[in-house]
Symmetry: C2
Subunit: 350 residues, 2 copies
């Protein structure tokens, strides 16, 4: 677990949220025996009887912060609320099990809309083999809030932590990056685009697909040394992984998977596609590390499972920091991307 | 599980919240095998390897709805956020284990206050043998929200559901009622009272003590046929218990435990102490049923454990409904008390 000083040193803009979590963590004290993983990974993991660990995660979505009901249906919101939690289970290599929903509902909002929200949750649960088994509802006059807490299981010997990356490992991502962030911008600005392009980007933002199949495959085959899901953007999430593993990383700009769709849309948004891909967030792809000698097994395993091949972005280094290598040289992009507590929401140029 | 029609028939004012939960529940479908208890009790219970059930609950507190920072310190709020979840574990007869915190924090609020909140959580965790092991934090510009999700364990054969009450069972409560509701009124009105009296009532509201010791004792000794914690007031919570057990209850007004403190404060508040005791809510005492022949064992077990004797309020009946017996006759008080979704917050006269 890092200290406040470590976090201050690794970039002032990122300090706030992580420092807050770290400071809270110290107040709570060290996890007791029986807790395999507490604060600091994608899930808490508890040792129980039997060969499996119970995985358990929680995420809150707040109206006006994480979603805007002007362009998000309640059904889409329900899907996404479960999907972001499923993505945390995927990032441990686990299988999802059960979820509780804690719903803060504005008393004067039409309650039939809550059923649409439940439909979205139920659809995501069905599709990914989870079940919503309880929860509570409270009045929330200031806006809709949704907290989903989800458990999962993973065979004890297969769980993939953030902390296992070693220098020389390759860094991979399971899919393209930045489309969700572009989709959000398209929605916020009401931007007219070619219809198929617009729909694909908007869908990337509103209906992310947790990479459970890839996560299980990597865990079962022992192919990943460390893993995290991309929720705050690769620059930040890779920084988390590197910090947990006491390593650094070098990412090659030319290797960052920027889709033709993102390349087509970014100029219309006046945004750099590479920046969107590295700092946009909410991709819910898996970012993982794997030894170079495992590359053939990795390629074969993904092919056999009918999954698109993972994209190599660069490699893990002994020196700390996350460096981006471009034709112009190297720059440190550690912790760039979304910070829930940054007061100035404008991302800086990279 | 009840239907919307059942709920409509049992009292219009109570329909909204329960109907919403019931309707959500139907969208989520029946719980899969392995879920011992899903929606509809104090906790979800999952069958795992070994002789224990994992208990798992979630509660959200919303600023302006569940707490007012004008008269609640962050430390008190932290205590209470865990206490209300611990009370759910107590109501199953379980022992608490691990908690996750999902904190919605207003970005411009002084973050050092979050440490006070953590102190309160940590103090409650220490006192009751729980541990906060993870969670997440999000920005919540519209106000502070706190979701705590807590697990616990209970030996599979000892778990106390809401659904086991039988006609003829006596109805008990573990302590006095209504002081928390009186304390809230004192705070809201800034009412000056004798200092000791004021502090005791305010403490009942701000620092409830979950009845884990009594809950475990009842479960271990097999003395309770059904149990629930008093969060929304006895009138409502006993209605939940009766509905789950397909029974009714008769409560004797003279037997409702109204403390000398409540009797002293109620006239100053212009409120009826009996009404506060039955509909006030947030007492976090345990309400349970027990066969009459178990009364001697119950009395002895509580004495031996150093616990105050439980108070008998009345008995379970085959006829549905919760009746209050007074010198003036009988009246149905089913579902009276706090409803999170009632638009008119004023409770009706009983």
């Amino acid at each position: 677990m890092s200290t406040e000083n470590d976090q201050r040193n690794s970039g002032d803009r990122a300090w706030s949220e992580r420092a807050l979590i770290g400071a809270l963590n110290r107040r709570f004290g060290p996890p007791p025996p029986g807790v395999i993983l507490g604060i600091g990974d994608d899930c808490a993991a508890l040792a129980l009887e039997g060969p499996d660990y119970l995985l358990w995660t929680v995420d809150t979505l707040v109206e006006g912060v994480h979603f805007d009901l002007a362009f998000t249906s309640l059904e889409q919101l329900g899907w996404k609320a479960l999907a972001v939690n499923l993505s945390d289970i995927a990032a441990m290599g686990g299988e999802p099990r059960y979820a509780l929903l804690s719903l803060g509902w504005p008393p004067r909002r039409d309650r039939s809309q809550a059923l649409s929200l439940a439909d979205g949750l139920a659809r995501a649960a069905r599709e990914f083999g989870a079940a919503i088994i309880g929860g509570d509802t409270v009045a929330s006059p200031v806006g809709l809030t949704l907290t989903v807490t989800l458990t999962g299981v993973v065979p004890a010997g297969q769980m993939v932590r953030r902390s296992g990356a070693r220098p020389g490992d390759l860094v991979y991502v399971t899919g393209v990056l930045g489309e969700a962030a572009a989709g959000l911008e398209v929605l916020k600005r009401g931007l007219a685009l070619d219809r198929d392009l617009r729909e694909a980007l908007v869908e990337a933002h509103l209906a992310p697909r947790p990479q459970l199949k890839a996560g299980r495959l990597l865990a079962r085959e022992g192919l990943a040394t460390a893993m995290i899901d991309v929720s705050d953007g690769v620059a930040t999430d890779l920084s988390h992984l590197c910090q947990a593993s006491s390593v650094g990383a070098r990412i090659e700009a030319a290797a960052v998977p920027v889709s033709p769709r993102l390349k087509a849309a970014a100029p219309r948004l006046g945004l750099d596609p590479l920046r969107l891909a590295l700092t946009g967030g909410e991709d819910y792809q898996l970012l993982f590390t794997s030894p170079p000698q495992a590359a053939p097994s990795l390629a074969l395993a993904f092919s056999r499972a009918g999954l698109a091949p993972p994209r190599a972005l660069g490699e893990i280094t002994a020196a700390p920091g996350v460096l981006l290598v471009t034709a112009a040289g190297e720059q440190d992009i550690s912790w760039q991307g979304y910070d829930h507590f940054r007061l100035d929401p404008a991302p800086e140029e990279i």
